[in-house]
Amino acid sequence: MMRLGNTRLAFIETLTEIVEQGLRAVLVCADSVLVVKGKAFAEKHPERFFDVGIAEQNAVACAAGMAACGLVPFVATYAGFITMRACEQVRTFVAYPGLNVKLVGANGGISAGEREGVTHQFFEDLGIMRTIPGITVVVPADDSQVRHATRAIYKTPGPAYMRIGSGRDPVVDCDDVPFELGKVRVLRDDGRDIALFANGFVINRALQAAEVLRQEGIRPVVVDVHTLKPLDGQAIVRILRETRAAVTVEDHNIIGGLGSAIAELSVEECPVAIAKVGLRDTYPRSGEPDALLDYYHVGVTDIVKAAKMVMQRRDQGLRA
């Protein structure tokens, strides 16, 4: 049975620690205080908590004004309301001026949508944020990694977007590999037959697929690309050179997210066979997180199948 953690709680507890260290962080919500488990924070630190109502554009622009006057605001609400409804405020008034605003998006991906349906499933957020110059984009693996990522984006001046989940988020149990913003983490290294690049709440699926492959005599390397931007190009290209074949695994549309990022890098620096596992440019539906991912072909068997297919393409290409 997979253990579940709470990335929302991990975020708010870490933000509380930061505030209690006397630093200039504040929490800005758009009637999202319960979403991000911020009630205790708001009661304990009322002067550091701002709720601007159901008004995400206002939340982001207001945070930009705070950052321009020396605060480090964390705007936390649903991922899509930040990255889509307030997209222009993020781009023009946070990213363009390079302001120190941290954006924290809940329900990132289709699996974290709490069975609410498409309105609360956000699978374009990373693609949208990634095309905006100057934003650090982070997709932590689980609750524990969210703690590292929250501290890291606080310490790194400038705009950042961090994905969190539903609050019932798979624990990956990978803390033995240190987190460093902008650096990939190799979570499993059996060899260089195939690279599995993954991030976020589907990392366990990539790890399970790696186990299946290993049992079939294929030696995979599993890489957590938690920082989607800036991408750790050097490390990724080094792995691509060795494997010449890769599968990307993400809880996101296959357009714009991890798959696109790796493919773009590969095309420019090390063209290899790549298969993308993720939501295949369609709208999902309500459902249990794991069942949803399986239904939309982000299952362990899909990853295994993609790995074999991409290895075959590589080997055919080598023979040709």
Partner: protein, 275 residues
């Protein structure tokens, strides 16, 4: 007080000369909107605001946001005349090598407190600045200039609600009410009017003035500052193209470059150099 007003009128005249000259020489810009807002900007920069051009990032300075960023030639002229950057920069507006962007950029132009140009955002940003001051311990005022076209954006009213909730008495918002927007008269484009009752209903301290009368501008600011518990809205009736008679009532001057004859006509009226 009469001396102050005479001084501000003279500064506004010089700013208007700069506005028309820079748009003429740069070959681009929005003269109508810059001229309607010139007197508000002159009053704020040359009498109201606590600022120091020698220390543009002074932490306790009053903040200014030209939320209607397309009026920036007037802001740039005021900043140059305050000494934030050389006056000679003005005519290089919008050119590749110049810091003066088509719309204000806080990282490129000294003295610009916040980036603007995409409409609707200044009230929310200004509120954030006021709220930040409560934590950083600086009790500055934040002045925002928006306009009747701009306040058709929904985020303005989102911010209006929040400012009321937070009793943002140090937020002063001017609506440059020149009555005309890009597509024509406000009433043709939008159901916005009447403006003042809306802000009153949103819980703001509201005043209505002639935006070209310095006496009224200054006393409205005093009243606004005296009201610590409410954000302030000053509805300033203005004339698009004010100061240049042939631009008034002709909305092609929303965005248009004067010909050499028009430039000379404008300079004749404003008393500026034709070269």
């Amino acid at each position: 007080m009469d001396d102050t007003i005479r001084k501000l009128e003279e500064i506004a005249r010089l700013i208007r000369i700069d506005v028309v000259t820079m748009i003429y020489k740069a070959g681009d810009g929005h003269p109508g909107a810059a001229l309607s807002v010139t007197d508000l900007i002159a009053a704020l920069y040359f009498h109201v605001m606590n600022i120091d051009p020698a220390d543009p990032n002074k932490k306790d300075r009053d903040r200014f946001i030209l939320s209607k960023g397309h009026g920036c030639p007037a802001l740039y002229a005021a900043l140059a005349r305050k000494g934030y950057f050389p006056h000679a920069d003005l005519v290089r507006l919008r050119s590749l090598e110049c810091h003066l962007q088509g719309h204000p950029d806080m990282n490129k132009t000294p003295g610009v407190d916040f980036t603007s140009g995409s409409l609707g955002n200044g009230v929310a940003v200004g509120l954030g600045m006021v709220l930040a001051g409560r934590i950083t311990g600086y009790d500055y005022f934040t002045d925002v200039v928006t306009c009747d076209g701009e306040i058709q954006e929904g985020i303005v009213w989102e911010a209006a609600m929040s400012a009321k909730k937070y009793k943002a008495g140090r937020l002063i918002v001017f609506v440059d009410n020149n009555g005309i927007q890009s597509g024509g008269p406000v009433d043709h484009v939008s159901g916005l009017n009447p403006i003042l009752p809306k802000w009153e209903a949103f819980g703001w301290h509201c005043q209505e003035i002639d935006g070209h009368d310095f006496g009224q501008i200054l006393s409205a600011v005093e009243n606004a500052k005296a009201n610590a518990e409410q954000p302030s809205l000053i509805l300033a009736h203005t004339i698009k193209g004010q100061g240049v008679p042939f631009m008034i009532g002709d909305n092609s001057w929303h965005k248009r470059v004067p010909t050499v004859e028009e430039f000379r006509d404008a300079m004749r009226v404003l008393g500026g150099p034709c070269s």
